[in-house]
Each structure stands twice: as structure tokens, then as C-alpha cells.
């Protein structure tokens, strides 16, 4: 089997706020292979957001090891971390996080600016990415001229533009109505099915979880469920992990 894209081993994250010491992740181990569609689920306070920040290289674990595409992330300095975020991770946020003063095209081109890609190529690739998410006619619009669903499509185009190893989406439908949210999830699925892009979605929403292939569920900083399912609710196991129906997982959340 090839190297997992994401390999989290015995990761613990402790927030030490003086009197209240919070163990957000307690000895968590999980792996994501290339081409998977994984939902990380759990109620608020379960540690799913903390796991997201660790996987996204936005924060470092207190202990344990995180291998990203075979790279031991504990060896990376701040600049190297920035480079890995730039080249290997495509972020999608709940509230889109587009820069308001930039056009859709400029927003999508931003990761390439930090990737030191020449302007002409930036424009071509950003345009192609926007066309791919169905916004070929919105290149010059600024975020305040776009609907919520369109903004999230711009954000997805931005996350894809440097051909990352995986997309990391934090509550990507949280700020959208259910129909638009469903469309965004369909877009993730299409990208996964047609281009083999690995997608990791962090969510508390069962409807979102249902649309993924595998669900990793956390509670109190511990993984209490890691299950595959085939979209019809029947789990299949090729990782030696718990076999279960997705409905059960969703109930945990």
C-alpha cells in the first residue's frame, strides 16, 4: 500500500490555560489514504476542530507524530510549514475566508502568489479552476457580489489551484442553506470521483457525514468510531476498523 496522505499517530494536544488544563486530543491515531473521502465528526468540544488544525499544519500537537505525505511534520520550521500548507493542503473554511478586496480570480490566484508562480500562469490556472467549479462567468466579481454558494465555490477553486495532496474543509456547508450545502458536497464528490482528490471534511452535520465514504468520529478527544460506508449505509472494511452502519455513527454525534 502506498504512503498514507495523512498519518496521525498517538497525537495528544493539551491546552494549558493555567488552572484549566484541557486535553483536546488524547492519543489519537488515524490514517487517510490517497483518494479517500473522510468526514471527521463529533459534537463541539470533541476535539474535531483541534484535529483539523493539526492535520492542516495550523497548530502543532503536544505529543505524537503527524506524517503528511510521508513528511514528518515535527521537523518543519515555520517557513517549511508554510510551504507545505501552500503545496499540499487545500483549505476550505466555513465562512469562506475570501479576501474582500480581491476579485474571485485574484482570490483563487493567491496561493500561487505564495507559491512564486509567474503572473501569466497564475491567471491561466486560476481561470481554469474557476471554470471547473462553474464560475467561469464570475472571474472579476468581488466576494460581496457573489452568493454564499458561489463564494464557497471560489474557495474550493482556491483550495485546488496548487494541486494539493488533500482538501481540508472545515464545516464547508455551515454557512449555507441545505440545498446549496448539498451542491457543495456534490462538488467535493465529483472532484473525488473524477480527479481522485482526497477530501477531509470536518463537520458536526450528519447530512454532510452521510455524503462521505468514511466517518471518523471523536468524543472527548478520543476516536470512538472509524467506519467506512458505501453511501447506502452499509460499512465495508478494508482497514481492519470497526464495521458499522453510518446511522449509528451519526447518532454518536
Amino acid at each position: 500500500m502506498s504512503t498514507p496522505v495523512i498519518s496521525v499517530s498517538n497525537v495528544t494536544k493539551v491546552f494549558d490555560g493555567g488552572d484549566n488544563r484541557v486535553v483536546a486530543l488524547d492519543n489519537v491515531t488515524m490514517h487517510v489514504d490517497r483518494g479517500e473521502m473522510v468526514a471527521i465528526m463529533g459534537p463541539s468540544g470533541s476535539g474535531k476542530s483541534t484535529l483539523m488544525t493539526v492535520i492542516g499544519l495550523l497548530d502543532v500537537p503536544s505529543s505524537g507524530r503527524y506524517m503528511l505525505d510521508g513528511i514528518d511534520t515535527s521537523t518543519l520550521d515555520r517557513d517549511a510549514q508554510a510551504a507545505v500548507r501552500n503545496q499540499k493542503i487545500g483549505f476550505v473554511f466555513q465562512n469562506f475566508n475570501l479576501l474582500p478586496r480581491l476579485t474571485a480570480l485574484q482570490n483563487v490566484a493567491l496561493p500561487m502568489v505564495y507559491g512564486r508562480i509567474p503572473p501569466a500562469e497564475r491567471e491561466a490556472r486560476a481561470t481554469a479552476a474557476l471554470v471547473a467549479v462553474g464560475l467561469g462567468n464570475r472571474l472579476k466579481n468581488r466576494p460581496n457580489e457573489l452568493s454564499g454558494g458561489q463564494k464557497q465555490r471560489v474557495a474550493i477553486a482556491r483550495s485546488l489551484v496548487n494541486n494539493p495532496e488533500f482538501l481540508l474543509a472545515d464545516e464547508p456547508t455551515g454557512a449555507l442553506d441545505s440545498r446549496t450545502g448539498h451542491e457543495i458536497m456534490e462538488l467535493f464528490r465529483t472532484l473525488n470521483r473524477t480527479q481522485g482528490i482526497t477530501v477531509v471534511v470536518v463537520t458536526h452535520d450528519a447530512e454532510v457525514g452521510k455524503q462521505m465514504d468514511r466517518i471518523v468520529s471523536l468524543r472527548d478527544g478520543v476516536i470512538n468510531m472509524d467506519a467506512l460506508h458505501d453511501y447506502y449505509g452499509i460499512a465495508t472494511d478494508d482497514h481492519g476498523r470497526v464495521r458499522t452502519a453510518v446511522q449509528e455513527v451519526v447518532n454518536v454525534g
Partner: protein
């Protein structure tokens, strides 16, 4: 990358136009003051310099000693220059023809002068025919008085450019007509043989009535001679062969005067020597001090402007914490973020500086045109302004930018 950073900086300035302008104000005022003051200061210094060049720097003025100076003896008539001193100097200068060119006295007497029905207060200066060699007295009409007129203490006079206007009226025809007329001073009728061109400035002969020294002493001063010492002189002027001989000449003059005045060894000089170079340096110093002071104020204004920039950049970093988090998540390094905010600060200070320089250039050119001063813009001042603004942008932008750069991505992203 740089292009991108500058473009982003311009975008963010445009997004907060009024705030940006207010932030720039200190830099605008500082830069414009700096350029305007240095330009006008230079022009003023140039003018002073020119009026000195006019006089020639190859001369030494001998002035009476200051009775209030330290070491001065308390005697009546202390330090005054007498005919005896003048004669001693004249003999001495004649023995060093390779150093000295000419020597003339200046005997100044305040008088009432009358021409026809007009009467004015004026200053008679008695001197020699060599006066033209040590003082700027460009004769416009007529001629200067001659050696023989000087020797004979003839009743002739050359009128200063303003004196002639006061006595005979303005305009070239009145001035020209003054030659050949008579001016009456202390009951003595003097024939006007020449009129000096008005030069303006504090060192010109505009306000003076020039006459031979003997005429002033014998005919105009009458009994004003001090007993035993002869008529006092306001100064004695010595022309030199070359500027390089100033030190040598000053030593000779000092020794001659000390001997002539029988000063004991160790006693302080009861006379003063000055060369135009000296006065020029003093005036340059004063002008430089004033210019420097205003430039300092301008510099302070620039620094205050810089603090304004720092303040607004700190606000910007706080306001845009989320944006910084997003940029970092997308792969911006600390240096990218640092660069972005420093460039934004530099953009503010440089645009402010350019606006300031632009208004100063307009002002200076307007003044130059109005005063007929020609090209007086100080290009070094413009360069200094820009460099200063750049340094302030970097200096005061660095700290806020560093704060932005060091933000942790996760904290920046979570910032509400």
C-alpha cells in the same frame, strides 16, 4: 511578488482613502516643509554669497576695538582708529607690494545733505580713490573721484544709488542729471561727479555719500578730530594681491597697529580685523542655523508622521488578523506577511512624501517666479525627503509588520 505586494498595499489604501490621507498628513507636512525650507534657505544663502563675491574676498577690514571686550583698558577713545594708525599701515603696505594691493580709510560722518530744496539725513564716507578696488561701487553715471582730487581734498562727491534718488528724484534721467549738480553738506558745496548703481543688500553703498578722506576730515568734520589722535575712522580697508595671503597680511597688520598704538606685549588687541570670508562664514552659519532649525522641525513632523503610520499599521494588523490567518493558511510565510505590511507602510509614507514634495515644488516655483530668483529648487532636499520617508516607512512599519508576521495561523484564523 513585489508587484503583488505593492498592488495589495495600494488596494488597502484605496479601501480607506480618508484614513490613509490623515495618516499621510504628518509626512506630507514634513516633506513639504523640508523641501520648501531647504530650497528657499539655499536661495537666500546664494544671494548673501553673491553680495560677498561682489565685494571680493581678497580684502581685510580693520575696525576699532570694542571697549567692552575682555582685557580692554578703560580710557576715553579706546580702540579708535586714528590717522596715525592709517599712515603707519600705509607705510607698511607699501613695503610689501607682493602682499598688499591698496589701502583706503573709511571716515564716516552722519550729516544733513541738501540739494536744491531737498534735505535728507545721510552718511558721508571719506575714503580714497582706491575704494573701488575693495568695495563694490559700480559707477552708473559720471566717474569716481581721482587720485589728485583725493590728494587735494577736492570738493567732489560720488552719490550712492538711494541717496541720489532721495536728493534728485527717481528714474535714470534724474540720476544722470545729478552729475554736475551741487550737494551742500555742513555749509560746503560739493560737486557731484558720479552716481553709483543701486545694488541692494546690507553691504552696498546705496545709502552713502562718498567723498575723498581729506574732504571729509577737513571740510565736513571740521573740529570733530580727537585731540592728539587725529580724526577717528570707522574702518580701514586693505586690498590683498591674493586670498592666500590673508593670514600673512593679518599678522603684518596686527604687528604694525600694535607698534603704532604702543601696546605692551600681552595686552589684548584694541582693534579688530575681519575678512569677508569670516563675515560670510558667520552669515552662512546664521542662515544654516535657521535653515537647520526649520529642517529639524520638519524632521520632527516626519517622525510624528511616522508614529501616525505605526499607529494606523497596528490598527490595520488588528483589523486584518483574520486575513493574515487566511494568507498563512494559504502558504504565506512570515516573511511574506512582514513584507506585505512593511510595503504598505512604505507606500503610505512615500505617497505622503510625494504629495508633500509636489506641493513644496509648486510653492517654491511660485515664489521663485514672483521674486525672479530663477531655479532655486533644492534637488538634494527632494532626495533627502524621499529617503527620510522611506526610512520612516520601514522604521515605523517594521514593528506592526513583525507583529503580523509572528501571529500564529490558528490564532489569526480564530480571531473575531
Amino acid at each position: 511578488m513585489w508587484g503583488e505586494q505593492i498592488r495589495m498595499a495600494m488596494e488597502s489604501l484605496r479601501a480607506n482613502k480618508f484614513r490613509s490621507l490623515l495618516t499621510m498628513l504628518g509626512i506630507i507636512i514634513g516633506s513639504s516643509t523640508l523641501v520648501a525650507v531647504l530650497s528657499l534657505g539655499n536661495a537666500l544663502q546664494g544671494q548673501v554669497f553673491e553680495s560677498f563675491i561682489d565685494l571680493g574676498t581678497r580684502r581685510i577690514g580693520i575696525l576699532p576695538g570694542d571697549p567692552d571686550a575682555a582685557g580692554a583698558r578703560i580710557t576715553s577713545g579706546y580702540g579708535l582708529l586714528s590717522i596715525k594708525d592709517y599712515e603707519a599701515l600705509k607705510t607698511m603696505t607699501a613695503t610689501y607690494p607682493d602682499i598688499f594691493r591698496v589701502i583706503v580709510p573709511e571716515v564716516s560722518i552722519k550729516v544733513r545733505a541738501r540739494a536744491k530744496t531737498t534735505e535728507i539725513d545721510a552718511l558721508v564716507v571719506g575714503t580714497g580713490e582706491g575704494y573701488q578696488q575693495v568695495q563694490s561701487v559700480p559707477v552708473e553715471y559720471g566717474r569716481f573721484f581721482t587720485a589728485s582730487e583725493s590728494a587735494e581734498s577736492a570738493r567732489v562727491t560720488v552719490l550712492g544709488g538711494l541717496v541720489v534718488e532721495d536728493l534728485f528724484g527717481k528714474g535714470p534721467e534724474n540720476k544722470a542729471a545729478a552729475v554736475g549738480q551741487t550737494v551742500v553738506i555742513n555749509g560746503q558745496s560739493l560737486l557731484v561727479v558720479g552716481v553709483v548703481k543701486a545694488a541692494g543688500g546690507p553691504f552696498s553703498s546705496d545709502q552713502r555719500i562718498l567723498v575723498p578722506a581729506g574732504t571729509a576730515r577737513l571740510r565736513i568734520a571740521g573740529n570733530q578730530d580727537l585731540p592728539g589722535r587725529g580724526l577717528q575712522m570707522s574702518s580701514i580697508l586693505v586690498g590683498l594681491k591674493s586670498e592666500g595671503k590673508v593670514t600673512q597680511a593679518e599678522a603684518l597688520i596686527s604687528q604694525t597697529l600694535r607698534d603704532s598704538r604702543r601696546l605692551a606685549a600681552g595686552a589684548v588687541d584694541d582693534f579688530k580685523l575681519n575678512s569677508p570670508t569670516q563675515s560670510l562664514n558667520i552669515l552662512k552659519g546664521i542662515n544654516g542655523a535657521i535653515t537647520g532649525f526649520i529642517a529639524l522641525v520638519a524632521g520632527i513632523s516626519l517622525v510624528v508622521g511616522g508614529i501616525g503610520i505605526m499607529n494606523i499599521m497596528l490598527v490595520a494588523v488588528t483589523e486584518r488578523t483574520r486575513e493574515i490567518g487566511v494568507r498563512k493558511a494559504l502558504g504565506a510565510t512570515d516573511r511574506d506577511v512582514l513584507g506585505q505590511f512593511v510595503i504598505e507602510a512604505i507606500t503610505i509614507s512615500l505617497i505622503g512624501s510625494l504629495i508633500g514634495i509636489g506641493s513644496a515644488v509648486a510653492l517654491v516655483l511660485a515664489i521663485a517666479a514672483a521674486a525672479g530668483l530663477g531655479m532655486i529648487l533644492s534637488f538634494p532636499a527632494i532626495i533627502i525627503s524621499l529617503v527620510f520617508a522611506l526610512a520612516i516607512g520601514v522604521g515605523f512599519g517594521y514593528y506592526p509588520a513583525k507583529r503580523a508576521a509572528l501571529l500564529l495561523p490558528i490564532e489569526a484564523l480564530r480571531y473575531e
